[in-house]
């Protein structure tokens, strides 16, 4: 149970290959860094406690369809599909050349974080010297390399940068996957504020400025449920304490009085 919530090192890299800058190759292994450590529950059959499974059911006759009979279709119009076999799709999959070519270096913070997608740790693959040189250079200059990486069936733009003593790759979103807020008419119509107002607002924000520590933020729902799991494992009875709103509190008082009256009878 304790282990389940501990941060572990993933067993296998999801990608291996080379970081390439000009003629220099740095062999690296890629590990995912981002986890969604939410709570996962399984659906169980209430009466016998057995887990439930999903089945693919045909919408025509409600029959359960086995995997051999499943294929993919791209919907071109309502209920109209272009059908693909697995082989056809495999044939056009982008081939990874196992290289992350860095063709440009930029200031890391010149890319708005809105484009940052997922971060991966790059670990030297018997390339300690070259790796440590690249890392030290990135740290010293505060620069990030721009390149692309092909993972599974998709090619991503990516940034290579230093983070906490490691070279980290962050995949970027395509610009067309991010909504332009100027699409909202309300935002296009916004008027410039008056200078005096702006100066005042700036002063207020300066007064309120502080340091930010992400570790201060915890998922409280998750913590509560983890507490409950521990109690349930120990066989303790879980007492449900629901927050009682104001209306309900009035009813509770009335209930208590009435219960007393009923007991006296």
């Amino acid at each position: 149970m304790e282990n389940k919530f501990k941060t572990n090192i993933p067993r296998r890299p999801i990608w291996t290959g080379n970081l390439t800058i000009g003629l220099v190759n740095v062999p690296i292994k890629v590990y995912p860094m981002i986890y969604n450590r939410g709570l996962t529950f399984r659906f169980l059959h209430r009466s016998d406690g057995h887990p439930l499974k999903y089945q693919k059911v045909c919408t025509k006759d409600e029959k359960v369809i086995p995997w051999e009979e499943v294929t993919k279709g791209y919907e071109i119009a309502k209920n109209e599909y272009v059908i693909f076999s697995k082989e056809e799709l495999d044939a056009v999959k982008p081939e990874s050349d196992k290289k992350i070519r860095l063709d440009k270096f930029i200031d890391y913070f010149s890319v708005d974080p809105i484009y940052f997608d997922k971060s991966y740790a790059l670990v030297p693959n018997k390339s300690d010297e070259a790796y440590s040189l690249l890392l030290a250079t990135l740290e010293k200059m505060g620069k990030a390399g721009v390149g692309r990486i092909t993972m599974r069936t998709k090619e991503y733009p990516a940034l290579i940068h230093a983070y906490n003593g490691a070279i980290v790759l962050t995949t970027l979103r395509y610009s067309y996957d991010v909504l332009n807020p100027q699409n909202f008419e309300e935002l296009r119509k916004l008027k410039e504020p008056q200078k005096i107002e702006l100066d005042l607002a700036v002063r207020i924000i300066k007064d309120l400025s502080g340091e930010f520590d992400i570790t201060e933020y915890k998922d409280r729902y998750k913590q509560e449920v983890e507490e409950l799991i521990k109690k349930k494992l120990k066989g303790e009875k879980v007492i449900l304490e629901k927050t009682v709103d104001e209306e309900a509190r009035g009813l509770m008082v009335a209930l208590r009085d009435t219960l007393k009256k009923l007991e006296r009878k």
């Binding site: 007492i239 449900l240 304490e241 629901k242 009682v244 709103d245 209306e247 309900a248 009035g250 009813l251 509770m252 009335a254 209930l255 208590r256 009435t258 219960l259 009256k261 009923l262 009878k265």
Partner: protein, 286 residues
């Protein structure tokens, strides 16, 4: 603290169920909690018929006898097979405060019960006279007729109890020993009705005459298996949020207005006029 006092989880407490009087569901629940000590003894072991108005009484409500889907396991229910509909109905029994509160939380406004109890559904423990005026008969006239009925019953040595219907009329109830069939109690009520109709031309005793303006109908037909009476202290689904309220016979003489008895003023009197109804088991005269 919540689960110790009640098993019920309250929902939508702020929802307005009586638009005209701006009464919220919380107030409905509070009302039923308040009258519970007097109401529960009466409800105990009687399969319930409910009228529920989840969207308020101005909107469409529904009549419900079957325990709804999602009824918690701690709610007592009883399956009763009906020969006429050839179906069994899973009735709710309200024998405790939690159940009453649960019902109120379901936006139950009216609670109706049969005149018999679950261990012997075909042998009633109550006889029920429904005094129902047809406009323009006034409530004073209706009260006079109701008092006439009381006098008649008194003369037969039967103690009777009265409540407002919550609408226009009055309900007169006689507690009896459980040995008569509904046919017998129905005949008894019909017989009294006919006598009253003979003595007073304002009164009618037959269903066919009920729509005659200004007449007061002494309804005997509810004394049947499967029929119900609105429970004492039940709210009525009318805009004024009236209550079917047990009265002292003296109150009737004073000229009480049935529509004045509502969610806000019922249950405050110290005396329970129907306190003895369940202890008083009477035989019908031969």
């Amino acid at each position: 603290m919540n689960d110790k006092i009640t098993k019920v989880e309250f929902t939508n407490l702020k929802k307005i169920l009586f638009l005209k009087m701006q009464i919220t569901k919380a107030q409905i629940i509070e009302y039923y909690i308040k009258v519970a000590p007097r109401m529960l003894a009466f409800l105990t072991d009687r399969p319930l018929a409910l009228t529920r108005f989840p969207n308020g009484i101005e909107k469409q409500g529904f009549y419900e006898k079957n325990a709804p889907q999602g009824t918690p396991t701690w709610i007592k229910t009883i399956k009763v097979f009906s020969k006429t509909t050839r179906r069994s109905t899973n009735y709710i029994l309200c024998n405790d405060l939690d159940t009453l509160v649960w019902l109120a939380n379901l936006a139950t406004i009216e609670i109706h019960t049969p005149l018999s109890r679950v261990d012997s559904l075909k042998k009633p423990d109550l006889i029920f006279f429904d005094i129902d005026p047809e406009p323009p008969a006034t409530y004073q006239k209706t009260a006079e007729v109701t008092l006439l009925l009381k006098e008649k019953l008194d003369n037969m040595g039967l103690e009777s109890f009265v409540k407002t219907s919550g609408k226009k009329g009055f309900h007169v109830v006689i507690p009896i020993i459980r040995k008569y069939t509904f046919l017998e109690t129905r005949k008894f009520v019909h017989k009294i009705g006919k006598q009253l109709a003979k003595e007073d031309n304002r009164i009618v005793s037959e269903l066919t005459e009920t729509k005659k303006p200004g007449k007061i109908f002494v309804d005997y037909l509810q004394n049947s298996h499967g029929r119900t009476m609105v429970s004492p202290y039940s709210l009525r689904a009318v805009p004024e949020a009236t209550v079917s309220n047990p009265l002292d016979w003296k109150d009737l003489k004073k000229g009480i207005k049935p529509t004045d008895l509502n969610i806000f003023n019922v249950g405050k009197s110290k005396k329970d006029p129907w306190k003895r109804i369940l202890e008083r088991r009477q035989k019908l005269p031969e």
